[in-house]
């Protein structure tokens, strides 16, 4: 560890960035796998079932008490799921447009993973900030990257060259563009209050002045609901509504390519949850305790901050999953009506009111 101090700053930055990227990537991937497990367990409990409770590796017999408990909780299920996806036959129908058919799953996953780069998931460990890229235009970067996620679904529909996927992708394009507008407008009051686009600055503002969710409840509600639409989750999962479109944009996909769409959806959920925690719930801070509200002074505090961030994120993941199994699907015209006639005017009004209040009371 001593040797690292002798390197020049550029080399240090490269090493630390690579390390952070690797760790964050690993954590997000693991979180995706276990989010699927949580989804299956929660849905089972909501429907009064048991959920996955059988998958057990051979060594589990040597662990008394804990072993059977882990099996009952389904801790090993993600490994079995992953293996199943890898080993299934990867079938490509003869009529597809090959290039786009292959590109689409990759294009779905990449933006979801890139979003995480600007999110401050902790204060600092030692002298290293716990964010991969502390961009000055953090939020705009996130929105830009999220908006690229549509291409995966559009190209999946186009590349599949058959009717249901095509309809699904057309729906999803319109849906995602509509809700992106509402989402983008809902966060403008936050910029007005914090006077910054940098996510670390926004967290600092919230630590000093109270969480955004209390100052901008309307913005939070719009952002939360819009992120359901952006991630194509129920009640807004019209791009893949089984009852009308078979499977929507991923009807023709199988094996690992299908798994990539799945992975993209959950990675998007994680990214949205992280954004909501950062923008509205004060990121890694907890109010009333100074040690948790200020940047960490020791390694332990740094780790606690990261833990706080993940706990808040897990809360939103549970909300995502919970809502999916509680609410029925919207009709498409209801979805569009909600986006354009309710949320966009509300978000605009919120901007005007916030701007007026700031202009009147801050001078």
């Amino acid at each position: 560890m001593e040797a690292i101090n002798y390197l020049n700053p550029t080399a240090q930055m490269i090493i630390f960035s690579a390390l952070k990227i690797g760790v964050v990537f690993g954590v997000v991937m693991t979180a995706v796998a276990y989010a699927v497990l949580v989804e299956r367990k929660v849905s089972a409990w909501i429907q009064n079932r048991v959920g996955p409770n059988r998958t057990a590796p051979f060594f589990i017999n040597y662990l008394p008490v804990i072993g059977p408990l882990l099996v009952r909780l389904g801790i090993f299920q993600p490994a079995a799921d992953g293996l199943k996806f890898l080993l299934k036959e990867d079938f490509t129908p003869s009529y597809v447009r090959k290039v786009y058919f292959w590109l689409a799953p990759a294009i779905t996953v990449i933006p979801a993973l890139l979003t995480v780069a600007v999110i401050p998931f902790g204060s600092n460990l030692g002298s290293e900030k716990m964010v991969i890229a502390d961009l000055n235009v953090g939020i705009l970067y996130t929105f830009g990257i999220v908006s690229l996620g549509v291409y995966g679904i559009v190209l999946a529909g186009y590349g599949s060259n058959s009717k249901y996927p095509f309809l699904g992708s057309i729906r999803s394009t319109a849906q995602m563009i509509s809700y992106e507008i509402a989402m983008g407008m809902s966060v403008i009051p936050i910029f007005i209050l914090t006077e910054s686009l940098n996510l670390s600055d926004i967290i600092r503002y919230q630590a000093e002045n109270g969480w955004m969710i209390f100052k901008q409840p309307l913005a939070f509600v719009i952002f939360l609901i819009a992120s359901f639409a952006e991630t194509n989750r129920l009640p807004f999962d019209l791009p893949e509504s089984e009852s009308e479109l078979v499977g929507g944009y991923h009807t023709e996909y199988s094996s690992m390519k299908f798994a990539l769409f799945f992975l993209g959806e959950y990675a998007n959920m994680i990214a949205s949850a992280a954004m909501m925690v950062t923008l509205f719930l004060g990121g890694w801070t907890l109010p009333f305790i100074d040690a948790l509200n200020l940047p960490a002074s020791s390694l332990l505090l740094g780790l606690i901050h990261i833990g706080v961030f993940f706990a808040k994120m897990a809360f939103f993941m549970i909300v995502f999953i919970w809502v999916r199994w509680m609410l029925p699907r919207f009709r498409y015209d209801q979805l569009m009506d909600l986006g354009w006639r309710r949320f966009i005017p509300l978000a605009l009004a919120n901007i005007v009111v916030t701007a007026l209040v700031v202009a009147l009371f801050n001078n």
């Binding site: 235009v137 705009l140 830009g144 908006s147 057309i170 394009t173 563009i177």
Partner: protein, 170 residues
């Protein structure tokens, strides 16, 4: 590290030109969807060029607006139109003429602006205030009139588009 940025600039500029060329004239595919996708790549490379100039705001907005919204709608329309192959091969002489004329006009404007620009990039550097704030001040203080005119123009275009789609107005 000036050499690194130079390397990035040449790579991105080259890719921008290559993708731009493939947008217009692709030897492998005449599908309009492929053209649109190459245009998206061109836009992404241009965003990269903005990043090299430390114009992060412009880079983010470039991706958000052009790659994320405008091009998606383009793709949407192209896919809905579903042009047949023979329709695509058909060249309209007037359209080619008008296209050539507007290309020449844009090229002329670009060359003129490059010739007339006084190079200040060595002294410009980074703005102390933060470039988003500086850009906002510039737009809303010294260039408020052109900015508002443009906004109204966009609004008029939007209203016009809605008016055209309504077949029976009464």
């Amino acid at each position: 590290m000036p050499q690194f940025t130079d390397l990035f600039f040449y790579a991105l500029a080259g890719l921008t030109l290559l993708f731009g060329f493939l947008t217009v004239l692709n030897p492998l595919s005449r599908s309009p969807v492929t053209s649109a996708m190459f245009l998206v790549l061109t836009i992404l490379c241009m965003a990269g060029l903005f990043v090299l100039l430390h114009a992060f705001f412009l880079a983010a907005v470039q991706i958000l607006v052009y790659a994320g919204a405008v091009m998606v709608v383009f793709l949407f329309v192209i896919m809905l139109l579903d042009l047949k192959a023979d329709q695509r091969r058909h060249f309209n002489k007037i359209a080619v003429g008008l296209g050539g004329l507007s290309t020449l006009a844009i090229a002329g404007t670009l060359v003129a602006s490059i010739v007339k620009t006084i190079p200040v990039s060595q002294t410009a550097g980074r703005l102390a205030e933060g470039e988003t704030k500086a850009l906002g001040r510039l737009l809303f203080e010294s260039h408020i009139l052109p900015f508002e005119i443009l906004s109204v123009l966009l609004l008029v275009a939007m209203v016009g588009a809605i008016l055209i789609t309504k077949k029976d107005l009464r």
